[in-house]
């Protein structure tokens, strides 16, 4: 029995590659196996190569892996793109109606032809249903019950009318029957987990949206942008049910400005965007800092600069997120490292934003926002939901009272006797505009003091690996999974290495970083960007020769790549 299995599905955009992958993923998750998926697709809706990969196991999965055991290939062009990455003895399933891969596949591969196009056209009577034939076959080969696939298709196509639904169900059955009649001489049955409760299966975008709602967010404003648009759709559908409001604004500036307005009026507010939108939001984020009006901004990073590669992943907005805008503007930058963390991270982002009355930028990336992953269902009772410290009516209210931790109790419009005007101009404790030199120094210090306290908040790092190691890895965001997997590979070879994930980069969790660095001679900092942005921030702070390891090809790290780097550093040390 294999403990894990990786399946890649590839075809042209519009052939149903992504929906086949998504449905199979849900079926696998419901069968109590852990799943991790990755997708890459063109920026156009139809045409261009699309790929979906899922890796599932009887244990939690940390990365999608680079190579795959089963390749479901819809056409010959995509065979050329992907075949080189298939495992030696992989199974190539191809549409035998349209092509014959014999000369292109490695001799060791198992070739499995199925005429999905003609089964869909003739057997089912719906050409478009060829991906459902493929789904039926993949489900059968991997041991998914036929009823489970039926349920999923009913959930997906139930609203489209009886005919479409019955044809899709028929397509599933045709694929399933083909699998039963044409057995593969290889065990593909990954054992199911013994746990009773089903885990959740969510994308990063879905988990961040649900986390925001769980944290009490009731105002969302956003402008469509890949790969963050799913959050807008999610909020438009869900927030009204909670009595909240989701608005699609005319641009990202309006989105963040209306969030600041809503937050000023007493509501927990957020927006989500990608790099180009974050660039436009810089000025209003400064206003959020200056008026101490909290707001949470998700940046699902994509490759840049400018329009860049909208559907490809990158971690290249870090420097901007930390340093953007004019003036001395304290803000918080957080980064979730997996889908589960997307949920809990958003709860934490609102906790920090509301507690400290400060903007929080949450850096996800395309590969994390759009991948799906299983995780244990959160217990909502255990979440920390925080409300802004509220002022008491005492006759002489100072909205921007200078306090020990820099946080001043707030009032909201509608609160009698606490009226104040807030302004982006420098202001005194009462909020009145002030150009006094000593006042600007004092208020700058007040605003920055919050960061000292935030840096000491717990839970923004995760430490793993061998504590005696002299080689370490510091990572952030979605690179954590491949790093952890690479470290397991190293451990299996007797190589000692320890790891630290930073889930907050501004302010840096300084004590925990210093403690991690103790005894380390070499520290590798892997990132998906060209310039090594975290490494630069760390070098400036700790004056230590961090070894930057970067790539920016639009794809997440393969654990093998990081393992090779770890091995090289240890061998040279």
């Amino acid at each position: 029995m294999p403990t894990n299995l990786t399946i890649r599905i590839a075809g042209e955009g519009g052939e149903g590659v992504i929906s086949t992958g998504e449905l199979l993923t849900t079926a696998v998750a419901r069968s109590r196996r852990d799943v991790f998926t990755f997708r890459t697709y063109p920026a156009e809706i139809k045409g261009g190569p699309a790929m979906f990969q899922l890796r599932f196991a009887d244990h939690p999965v940390l990365s999608v892996g680079a190579s795959f055991d089963i390749f479901m290939c819809f056409n010959e062009e995509n065979l050329d793109i992907h075949i080189g990455e298939m495992k030696k003895n992989g199974i190539l399933i191809y549409d035998s109606t349209t092509f014959d891969p014999e000369k292109k596949a490695p001799g060791t591969a198992i070739l499995y032809g199925i005429p999905i196009s003609s089964i869909a056209a003739e057997g089912v009577g719906l050409k478009k249903a060829k991906n459902m034939v493929a789904l039926g076959l993949l489900g059968q080969l991997t041991g998914m019950p036929a009823e489970s696939l039926h349920d999923l298709v009913k959930e997906k196509f139930g609203k489209k009318g009886d005919e479409i639904l019955s044809k899709n169900l028929l397509a599933i059955d045709e694929g399933y029957k083909w699998g039963e009649a044409h057995k593969i001489d290889r065990d593909l049955l990954v054992p199911a987990s013994v746990r009773k409760e089903r885990k959740l299966i969510m994308s990063g975008n879905e988990a961040m949206s649900a986390g925001a709602i769980a944290a009490g967010c009731r105002y969302y404003a956003g402008y469509p942008i890949t790969p963050a648009s799913d959050i807008l759709s999610f909020m438009e559908k869900q927030l009204p049910k909670f009595g909240g409001i989701a608005v699609q604004t005319e641009d990202e500036i309006a989105a963040i400005a209306s969030c600041v307005g809503a937050s000023f009026a007493g509501t927990k507010a957020m927006t989500a965007t990608s790099g180009p939108g974050l660039s436009l939001m810089a000025e209003v984020l400064g206003l959020s800092t200056m008026t101490e009006t909290p707001v949470v901004v998700v940046d699902a990073q994509r490759s840049g600069p400018s329009t860049g590669m909208p559907t490809k992943t990158e971690q290249s907005d870090l420097s901007f997120a930390v340093h953007m805008g004019h003036g001395d503007a304290p803000r918080v930058v957080m980064a979730p490292s997996n889908v589960k963390d997307c949920f809990y991270g958003m709860v934490k982002a609102f906790h920090i934003a509301e507690k400290y009355q400060i903007p929080v930028v949450m850096l996800s990336d395309q590969s994390l926002s759009q991948r799906t992953q299983t995780f244990t269902r959160p217990n909502l009772e255990n979440l920390t939901r925080t409300e802004r410290a509220h002022a008491k009516k005492n006759g002489s209210y100072k909205r921007f009272l200078d306090t020990e931790n820099g946080v001043s109790p707030v009032a909201f419009p509608g609160d009698e006797g606490l009226n104040f005007v807030t302004t982006g101009l420098e202001h005194d404790e009462e909020g009145h505009p002030s150009w006094s030199p000593s006042n600007h120094e004092r208020m700058s210090a007040k605003r920055y003091r919050k960061l000292e306290f935030i840096a000491r908040e717990k839970g923004f790092t995760r430490r793993f690996g061998d504590e005696h190691a002299t080689v370490g890895v510091i990572c952030w965001g979605s690179t954590e999974g491949p790093v952890e997997e690479a470290m397991s590979m190293a451990a299996a070879q007797g190589l000692e290495v320890k790891g630290l994930t930073l889930k907050m980069i501004e302010p840096l969790p300084d004590e925990e970083i210093r403690s991690f660095m103790t005894g380390l001679k070499h520290i590798i900092v892997p990132e998906i960007n060209f310039t090594g942005q975290l490494a630069k921030i760390l070098r400036a702070q700790y004056l230590f020769p961090f070894k930057s390891y970067t790539k920016c090809n639009g794809l997440p790290f393969d654990p093998e790549e990081i393992f090779a780097r770890i091995e090289e550093v240890i061998r040279r040390a």
Binding site: I201, R218, A254, C259, L380, T423
Partner: protein
């Protein structure tokens, strides 16, 4: 033109709405009229200061919130409409005013105007138009006429000016009116009417800058009351008034009585979405199993 409008009697003392912050505008500035009209209009409306929010952008008129005793938000340049929209949507019980200049609302923030109008958010937008950038010392603004002279345009303007009322009518704002700082009683009355309108109301105020573009003499002579025979529901007639080349009309151009405000539509969305029960985070998570 002599004053003809008689203002209503305030039910709350206008001084209630004054703040202790000294007003920083130049002596003679048209904005003083608007500020005093606002105090008086708020008194007529009887709004409570803590239930009233005055939002603004940047420029001379952007300072308005600071001079009131209401809640206020003085934001960044050009973004007063989205900011005020956020305030109103977060708490629909508040009376929300958006105040800004011609540069703030038609140049840097020009992209938000049509969207506030089509959303029909129940806020009152007062544009204080002095046809110049006063706080940066007299550059041409989007409403500076092509024949005007300004410091930044020693050879005259090469660009035609925008007409705020024409834009508001084209954007289908549900209330469109124009006032003049030199006609205080009518200005008070129009602020009251704009505030009472359910939906997005736009009040264009010709508020001259006596330092860099003193149009008081011109407008004092040339503003004309919209005839009483004009029916504000008649959009075609409103467009005729705006396009009259010889006259600058003041009064209510257009008021629609059948457009739902954004809050009303949003409430319908909320009702519809809750038809099968209110949101529950536990149940939401369970849909991902």
């Amino acid at each position: 033109m002599p004053e003809t409008t008689k203002p209503a009697i305030p039910i709350v003392k206008p001084d209630t709405y004054k703040s202790t912050v000294p007003v920083t505008w130049c002596p003679g500035c048209g904005d003083f009229s608007v500020l005093h009209a606002l105090y008086k209009a708020l008194g007529i409306l009887g709004y409570k200061t803590h239930e009233t929010v005055v939002c603004s952008g940047i420029g001379c008129s952007g300072r308005t919130p600071v001079f009131t005793s209401c809640y206020g938000f003085h934001g960044v340049h050009g973004r007063v409409l989205p900011t005020a929209t956020g305030v109103k949507l977060a708490n629909p019980n508040l009376h929300v005013f958006a105040v800004g200049g011609d540069g703030d609302g038609l140049a840097i923030g020009g992209g938000h105007f049509p969207h506030a109008a089509r959303r029909n958010v129940d806020i009152t937008y007062i544009m204080l138009d002095n046809a110049t950038y006063g706080l940066t010392k007299g550059q041409a603004s989007p409403t500076t006429g092509a024949s005007s002279w300004t410091r930044s345009l020693p050879y005259g303007a090469a660009e035609d000016n925008l007409n705020p009322v024409g834009l508001a009518l084209a954007y289908n704002a549900s209330f469109v009116a124009r006032a003049f700082s030199g006609q205080l009683n009518q200005l008070i009355d129009l602020i009251v009417r704009a505030a009472n309108h359910k939906g997005f109301s736009f009040l264009h105020v010709i508020s001259p800058c006596v330092v860099f573009n003193n149009t008081y003499p011109y407008y004092t002579k040339n503003v004309t009351m919209i005839p009483e025979t004009h029916d504000p529901k008649n959009k075609a007639s409103a467009l005729d008034l705006w396009q009259d080349p010889d006259k600058t009309y003041i009064g209510v151009f257009h008021e629609s009585d059948n457009r739902e405000s954004y809050a009303t539509r949003m409430n319908k969305v909320i009702e519809q979405s809750q038809a099968k029960g209110k949101g529950d985070t536990d149940k939401l998570l369970d849909t991902f199993r």
